[in-house]
Subunit: 215 residues, 2 copies
């Protein structure tokens, strides 16, 4: 039933298409409930392609993760760096708001980014936190490294807090973020459609406000 076949097929790489589809499906359902067949069918690719390119279903999952993992944490560190430079120039400390901003802005802005598929990735990432920890050891360790870079700044602003306090509060900030990401659509139900969560600046600012005060 195909129409006239074009000379050059305007298709992305099969590998890339598989990653896109897998990202989307894994973002919306658990690892076990997403079948390789569903991925390959939706990516318009042969069933064996997944095992060919990625070795296994697990390999595919991991590949989806690593494709964009470091980029987001680099964005965080970049925001931290910029805030640090600005503060240095004006002779002040980095503000608490800057720190929270640097942690929350990349994921929440990605969440609303429809074009490049980052939105899907963020939901994928948030969901994958609940999968078996084996798949995600390197996910964790990378994020831990990033937050370690933030701790001294928190400590400088709030010298009376212990490291324990700071870790707990970073943990809560992550909680606000993950829950917002996973259940953003639910704010409508909770509020009887008073809130809609459609504006990324609003969501970001509300989260940042809440977390700054919480800290």
């Amino acid at each position: 039933m195909r129409p006239i076949k074009p000379i050059k097929p305007v298709k992305l790489d099969a590998k890339e298409r598989i990653l896109d589809v897998a990202e989307e499906l894994f973002a919306n359902a658990s690892f076990a409930s997403v079948s390789v067949r569903a991925v390959t069918a939706q990516a318009d690719v042969n069933l064996s392609a997944v095992n060919y390119y990625f070795g296994s279903k697990q390999g595919l999952f991991h590949a989806v993760y690593v494709r964009r993992a470091t980029l987001m944490n680099h964005e965080r560190l970049h925001l931290l760096h910029m805030a640090s430079e600005m503060a240095k120039a004006s002779g002040e400390d980095v503000s608490l708001r800057d720190l929270i901003n640097a942690i929350l802005t990349p994921p929440i802005f990605w969440l609303y980014d429809e074009k490049q598929g980052y939105s899907v990735y963020i939901r994928f990432l948030a969901r994958s936190y609940l999968e078996d920890a084996n798949n995600l050891k390197d996910v964790l360790s990378q994020e831990v490294d990033v937050f370690d870079r933030f701790v001294p700044y928190f400590k400088k602003i709030k010298p009376n807090l212990t490291k324990e306090d700071i870790y707990w509060r970073i943990h809560f900030v992550m909680g606000v973020m993950h829950h917002t990401i996973n259940h953003l659509h639910r704010i409508g139900l909770l509020s009887h459609n008073v809130c809609n969560g459609g504006d990324r600046e609003e969501a970001r600012d509300r989260m940042v406000d809440f977390c700054c005060n919480g800290f």
Copy 2:
């Protein structure tokens, strides 16, 4: 180390044992990755029992939920009621801390309750938030009803907040809670074992502090 064994074999109902095991397995892994066979084997029950008692695997999942669902929300409303009575007696408003407390204390205390299996249920509940929304329509609506009872109290304490503000902040409080429940073990990794998250009062108080300030 049980004392003398009574004459009647002290086995729980098969039905109850299935629910206990399913609760535990569903708390630790996704719906699709938990097999009926794993449940029945661990519950020391025949394979067909699940379909006999609950009709289907989905039915079992739903039964696990409904077994303790209303109780927790009743505890929340009870705490709200008590705080309201105390406040009335002293002629004051219910404090913000009382409200946050009433929302967070039941789940977080259940989380640390080893004896009655409530701990497992709380993790089951938090995880089930990420499963397909179809299974959980009544979960949501019940929780929404409970929080609606809280809104007027928030409004009275913070009259300058809009309803929208309040719903967003309740949403964030839930985020802190769910993330803490799902990733409590992770606070150790994040903090390089500075924090351990072993004390329910500490966890509760830290969450309440954070959320009170955030509000």
